[in-house]
């Protein structure tokens, strides 16, 4: 029973992995590359310390994005607006951080708070529209993305750009030293070797881990998290059990947006210390894919984020060596998402059927003991 449960738990990720390797190999063959060589190259490059650091740095915002999307998904809310929420949150947080000078910890906390509040308000607005006007959140969040981008452009041209800047690259003023998030190079080097090439292991990964743990505890251990989860499982039963559906929608959107606000911070606090035109885009949409791979579970999302981060960091070697164009990364990521979605669906159906059968067997055994003595109490 337990052995089978472990097999079942591993069946989905393993088959998704095998399937995506297979399809990706076919793609590589199609572009004229020997897949075995390509995989070997990616693996050897991908296992270097510097690539792994890069993986972690890329996975951190992806993980936060995945969690932000998953908060909504867990109650069947599709927050497509994570993209816009984190962009506007990053801009305002970076500006707020540059505008003040505070002791280190407070300074960082202030920036984090601003980002979470902005993200949360932006996303909460979509929740508000849903419960008061019946606007579907997919529509409103997509439109709010466009509004967010327009606002970012406007604010950058008017009030928030660094007036002393003479380059064409618009940017906000830099955040002072006290508002920068420390890296973990010292900690890592204590266990490994010196890190080459001036790379830094971003410290924000610790925040991401904490967010993942809080997300898990919130869903499984709190009443509020239970209400959110059961609304996703069965909104009618949830309402009859006393859950206020409107309040839960707004709460979920606020929480989702608050996490979304954090997505841009590894870059703002740990790398650039400002918002500029080269600020990373697309993390919110990537977060949807990561949440899908991770089945909205914090541990699964971590796997998805690390996998995406690793492909981002390791696959460009194929381009460098002239084996395959760099777009191959996006193809690989797409294949992983599809395989994961299909594999999990198949495995969950198999598991459901199996459980129904196990239960039938177990209860049939109980019924049998009853029918041996037809004079006794039946079904009571």
């Amino acid at each position: 029973m337990t052995a089978r449960r472990i097999v079942m738990a591993l069946a989905a990720p393993v088959s998704a992995f095998a399937f995506s390797v297979l399809i990706s190999s076919a793609v590589l063959i199609a572009v004229g590359t020997n897949p075995i060589d390509a995989w070997a190259e990616m693996l050897s490059f991908g296992m270097r310390l510097e690539t792994l650091i890069e993986t972690s740095n890329r996975a951190t915002p992806l993980y936060l994005a995945g969690i932000a999307v998953a908060v909504g998904f867990r109650m069947n809310l599709f927050n497509i607006g994570v993209e816009g929420q984190y962009t506007i949150a990053a801009l305002l947080a970076a500006s707020a951080g540059a505008a003040v000078s505070l002791p280190a910890a407070l300074h960082i906390l202030l920036i984090i708070a601003v980002a979470m509040i902005v993200g949360s308000l932006f996303s909460g607005f979509a929740g508000y529209l849903k419960v008061t006007r019946g606007v579907h959140e997919v529509i409103s969040t997509i439109m709010l993305n466009a509004i967010a981008w327009a606002m970012v452009g406007y604010l950058m041209r008017t009030w928030l750009a660094d007036p002393d800047d003479t380059t064409l690259n618009l940017k906000t003023r830099e955040i002072a030293e006290s508002g920068r998030f420390p890296n973990l190079n010292g900690l890592l080097e204590a266990f490994t070797r010196d890190i080459k090439g001036g790379r830094e292991l971003g410290g924000f990964i610790l925040v991401a881990v904490v967010v993942g743990i809080i997300f898990h505890l919130y869903l499984t251990r709190t009443r509020s998290g239970y209400d959110l989860r059961i609304t996703g499982l069965n909104p009618f039963a949830a309402e009859a059990s006393g859950v206020d559906p409107k309040a839960t929608v707004v709460r979920a959107m606020l929480l989702s947006g608050a996490v979304a606000g954090l997505i841009g911070l590894p870059e703002i606090l740990g790398d650039d210390f400002k918002y500029d035109l080269s600020f990373t885009k697309g993390l919110g949409f990537a977060g949807i894919a990561v949440a899908l791979i991770g089945r909205n579970h914090p541990a699964g999302i971590a796997v998805g984020a690390l996998l995406f981060g690793w492909l981002d960091s390791a696959a460009p070697i194929l381009d460098v060596r002239g084996d395959a164009p760099r777009e191959i990364v996006s193809i690989l990521q797409g294949v992983v998402v599809l395989s994961a979605v299909v594999a999990y669906e198949v495995v969950s159906r198999v598991r459901q059927a199996q459980e129904a059968r196990d239960t039938a067997i177990a209860t049939a055994a109980q019924t049998d003991t009853g029918s041996d003595q037809p004079e006794g109490e039946v079904g009571a």
Binding site: S224, A240, S241, G242, I361, T363, G379, A380
Partner: protein
Amino acid sequence: MLPAPAVELTGITKRFPGVVANDDVHIRVAEGEIHAVVGENGAGKSTLMKILYGMLVPDEGQMTVDGDEVSFSSPGEAIDRGIGMVHQHFMLADNLTVLENVILGAEPVKRGAIDLEAARTSLEELGAAYGLDIHPDDMVETLEVGERQRVEIIKVLYRGAKILILDEPTAVLVPQEVEELFRNLRELKVQGHTIIFIDHKLTEVLEIADTITVLRAGRTVTTVDAGDVTAQELAELMIGGDLPSPSTATHQIDDHVTLSLAGVSVTDDDEREALSDIDLTLHRGEILGVAGVEGNGQGELIEAILGLRPTAGGSLTFNGEDISDWSVRRRRESGIGYVPEDRHRRGLLLDAPLWENAMLGHQTVEPFARGSLIDRSGARDATEAIVSQFDVRTPGIDTTARALSGGNQQKLVIGREIAADPLLLIAAHPTRGIDVGAQAAVWEELRRVRAEGLSLLLVSADLHELIGLADRLVVMLGGRIVAELDPAETTPRLLGSHMTGADATNGESSS
């Protein structure tokens, strides 16, 4: 020599891993008869019908149709031999018309296009031939349940079925629709069709069937003529023991008013008045039965009391307090329990483990919660207690609710509500779709908690259940209470006439 039977099943055995669903089953269905197959849930009726309809292949045994030995590997082959099945859950496309639904998958084609005119003609001929009242151009979504069932029957006839299998056809029907169905079935019989009828409502079976085969635990118990057996005897054959009945034990009803509604009105989703001026009182230790044809305001009444639907007027008093403005959660925390009419829709989280289902509706109170946190160990212990006290048959409390049989799911829902020790329990169709044994257990439990002072609002379509359990009965019609009756002096027939408004002059008294 006797004519060959329309269908004969000999020695049918079907095993699933660990379970023998059918064990050496013998059934002989004569041509042109209505043959009922009865048995408790899990007795093997559905498996047997799936075998006959080609959805399952038996491990052993022979089937003959009209004397020829057959073996079906798909429903298509069964249809070719003139066997059709009307499923319990209708398989109709809501957004197509009756005509389109009937021909779906068997469209008459003329020059590469669907020949709707030919289809309409043959549909109208069918309707006329069998006295089936049908409007080909109605959208299925606008039809009543009984009409949808008629469409299903026509669908089967359109495909040329001579042998019809009906799987619990009356489970979803109100009494008047049942009569209509029976009239249609008798007509089909006159025209030479053979009907196999699966049911566990014994009075209905006795009314419609010529021959009855009883299954128990996968085996054929016996086959009897409907004229030679009583409902009591049938039930005993089904469960293999003495039958419990919902008889009322004498007990004391308190003066204390648990729930009172004064002049309550409610509008439905389309802003029409669904409840008008309802006055009700429910005392401590009393069971108030609410009878009525479905859709006459019972659902809205429940929703108004629970707070799922706002009241448009009047006042709701629970235990001395006006609760009209209270949230659902506050009402439930203050002691209102709820057994919903549709456990899958409002009562369960099918994909969650049993222990999370057991806390549904009680997730804010002990033993399921401590402060704003979930008390996992408290919840699990409480679930274990519910499972053992209410005999929920499950491998464990981590099993998902979906895996349980309907009867066990219902026992979990009822157990959870009763274990929470409510002051008022609203139970809608608490024994619908569960077998005789589980039904008796539920009745027993409801009587026990009533004796302990619980007030029960019982909405049911099972008139015997209402008469047998309730201390007082009200009848709802068109969103109003049209009669109040003493169950000791009422009969299903009298109740039925109040429900349809046929007997408005006799015994009307607004409460």
